[in-house]
């Protein structure tokens, strides 16, 4: 296994557009830290290509953006990339961050069985809110940023050399900081935003080896 990051960037609906757009901060951090990086974008985010790239590069860190279920992670146009009982073995011994709904509930647990790796994800649906005035320019959407910035911190912390446990806790702390920030916003916005942030805070889980870091190859 080699030190490096594979990140999936599907863009087949507005959810994946937002996730991929905000993932550019993760990509920038990888470039700043000179971490070997492979982006899989749009149509490249399919099962055959993902398995081929992973097999060839054998990088130890994977960030998934996309839809998911308790037993699967999906790619572009919701094609299943990893599925419990099928190919979760390909995640073994790696650092996995899955920004996808519910995959932390069952797939995440299965993927770290007899593994030195870890799985950070969400055991319930990942929720976010966005300002409809900015859906064509997600980067200017400060409401969506409240949700997506903390989750970016999981990957960014790993890239900075922190352990899985530290990355997990940093992201959770930032979610709480954003709750505090939201509570100082106009009351209308606060009510809408805070329950969603709390949902993501409670739902974010770490399975497997909490001490693994990017240099554990």
């Amino acid at each position: 296994m080699k030190k490096g990051l594979i990140i999936t960037l599907p863009k087949s609906d507005l959810v994946t557009e937002y996730l991929s757009y905000f993932s550019e901060e993760i990509v920038s951090e990888a470039e700043n830290k000179d971490v070997d990086l492979k982006r899989l974008t749009e149509n490249e985010v399919n099962k055959d290509n993902f398995e081929k790239v992973l097999s060839k590069l054998d990088y130890n860190f994977i960030v998934f953006n996309g839809h998911g279920t308790s037993t699967s992670i999906k790619g572009h146009k919701e094609e299943i990339l990893v599925e419990e009982g099928n190919n979760e073995i390909i995640l073994k011994d790696r650092i996995i961050f899955a920004r996808s709904c519910e995959s932390g509930a069952s797939l995440g647990i299965a993927s770290v069985t007899k593994s030195k790796g870890c799985f950070i994800g969400y055991e319930m649906p990942f929720v976010f809110y966005a300002d409809g005035n900015w859906d064509s320019i997600p980067g200017k959407d400060e409401v969506a940023r409240l949700f997506l910035e903390p989750s970016n911190l999981v990957a960014i912390s790993i890239l900075k050399g922190h352990t899985a446990k530290e990355a997990h806790e940093t992201a959770k702390r930032q979610t709480i900081k954003n709750i505090k920030k939201a509570l100082r916003m106009e009351p209308q916005d606060a009510y809408f935003v805070v329950p969603g942030l709390w949902n993501n805070y409670e739902s974010q889980v770490l399975h497997g080896n909490p001490k693994i870091d990017l240099n554990s190859v």
Binding site: C101, P125, V127, G132, D135, I179, W198
Partner: protein
């Protein structure tokens, strides 16, 4: 284990709770904001959110569960404890 919105937690949701969530959404959600919930729903505006809650469909159940969970966290002190920890 997975937390299933459609079983135990939802069973605790009474009609009064649903009405409370609806009233708060109606009074407090700005019209420009959009809600995205996982695979099920994206880009929902206020009216669409309220319709799902009224219809008590899968999306509506999730919306109510998210709000009830938050209200419980406020009531049992978990939220304030988390806020005071950072």
């Amino acid at each position: 284990m997975k937390k299933d919105y459609n079983s135990k937690e939802s069973a605790e949701v009474t009609e009064k709770m649903r009405e409370l969530v609806l009233a708060k959404i109606d009074a407090q959600i700005p019209s420009n904001l959009r809600l995205f919930i996982g695979n099920l729903a994206q880009n929902m505006n206020k009216e669409e959110i309220m319709n799902h809650v009224r219809n008590d469909d899968e999306i509506g159940k999730q919306i109510v569960a998210i709000h009830i969970k938050f209200m419980k966290a406020v009531a049992n002190g978990h939220l304030i404890k988390a806020i005071n920890s950072v």
